[in-house]
Amino acid sequence: MAEPRQFAVSAEGGRELAEHLSALAAASGVRCALLVDRGGRLIESSGSADGVDLLAFASLAAADFNANEQLARLVGARGFRALVHRGDRSSVHVADVGGNAVLITLFDETAAPGMVGRLADEVVERVALTLDTMASRSASGQGTEQSLLAGAEEEIDRLFDW
């Protein structure tokens, strides 16, 4: 059987991340900010994302960033720190967070990409610190996270009783 490999977002860490993201989402012209792991999983979001399928958006944005990182390597660069996709009414800024996640900012035509980039840079540093702390806790097995599903075999079995 496989070795357990997991990353736990603690309740406290989740609150911290939400605070970091809300600072970005509150900026003028920004619709929402998302934090997504490099595997495409949504970790946290803030702001109004009405009409946006966040799961699909997170998956595509992470894949897009990963693909661009490989493109960068093909031309001899280590990677791109951030990507901007500009549209007529909506634009997207995607920034690397320590190689493990991406911070995505969805903004409209009233926000300047440069301003969004500067704000995102500030948030990236804070988010990276929070993620590092949580990753250390997950790796060392601190807290209660590692035992969440311990002894839950029967409950897991029942989940698949269909």
Binding site: M1, P4, A8, G39, S59, E145, L148, A152, I156
Partner: protein, 225 residues
């Protein structure tokens, strides 16, 4: 790497369907999409060429219910099977929690299946993952075709097993999906061998699709338990 989010009370896991081109990976996801209740799944995203070959990946999020009060959300991905899309394939394996290898049962695809299996092993290794130590099931698809190889031949070629070195695990483990067969067993030479669970399927009819998904999802969650 599964993600347990205590803030949103969710467990998020990533499962990748791997295998040769035109083997039925996308068909698996399409069947799941068509059969599960709309409220338990998201959009099926397909990044495909104009002739519907997977170019980058397909993606389908599915909720399987709650465990310990946490919503279990599985992100199902396929990879492009064609050999020259290896860079894309490798990217999709990032942070994977479980693998379904979709084998094409047709006799003339055996070599391609073996190359794809080796490619899976190699790509995982580049991320530091060991296929023999992670949730992994094999699906033999297209069982309805007249040129389908017997399962025993496919098993010998694609699922011969790996040595069990840990003495604590050197004991017979019955295959819960095939009566009279074992997942861990001793070979004729005395060596302990473990094989991945396997399933027969005709994905285009839906046969075997949910059995496969259930088996790998269960393995992923039990790996966390």
């Amino acid at each position: 790497m599964s993600m347990i989010n205590y803030a949103s009370r969710e467990i998020n896991c990533k499962i990748v369907y791997y295998g040769v081109g035109l083997g039925g990976k996308t068909t698996n996801l399409e069947h799941v999409y068509g059969k599960v209740k709309p409220e338990t799944r998201g959009k099926l995203i397909s990044l495909a060429t104009e002739n519907e070959r997977t170019l980058f990946f397909d993606f389908l999020p599915v909720d399987l219910g709650t465990v310990r009060g946490f919503r279990t959300r599985f992100h199902l991905y396929t990879v492009p099977g064609q050999v020259y899309y290896n860079a894309s394939r490798k990217l999709i394996l990032k942070n994977v929690d479980g693998i379904v290898f979709v084998g094409d049962s047709q006799r003339e695809r055996l070599e391609a299946n073996q190359e794809s299996m080796q490619n899976l092993y190699d790509n995982l290794q580049e991320y530091g993952y060991d296929l023999t130590r992670m949730p992994f099931v094999i699906q033999y698809n297209k069982r309805d075709l007249p040129n389908a190889l017997p399962v025993a031949e496919l098993q010998a070629a694609l699922n011969p097993g790996w040595p069990v070195l840990d003495p604590a695990k050197q004991r017979v483990a019955p295959d819960p999906y095939h009566a009279g067969e074992n997942l861990v067993d001793q070979s004729g030479t005395g060596e302990w061998i473990e094989r991945a669970p396997h399933f027969e399927a005709v994905a285009i009819r839906g046969d075997g699709v949910f059995d496969t998904l259930k088996a790998v999802s269960k393995q992923v969650l039990k790996a966390l338990a």
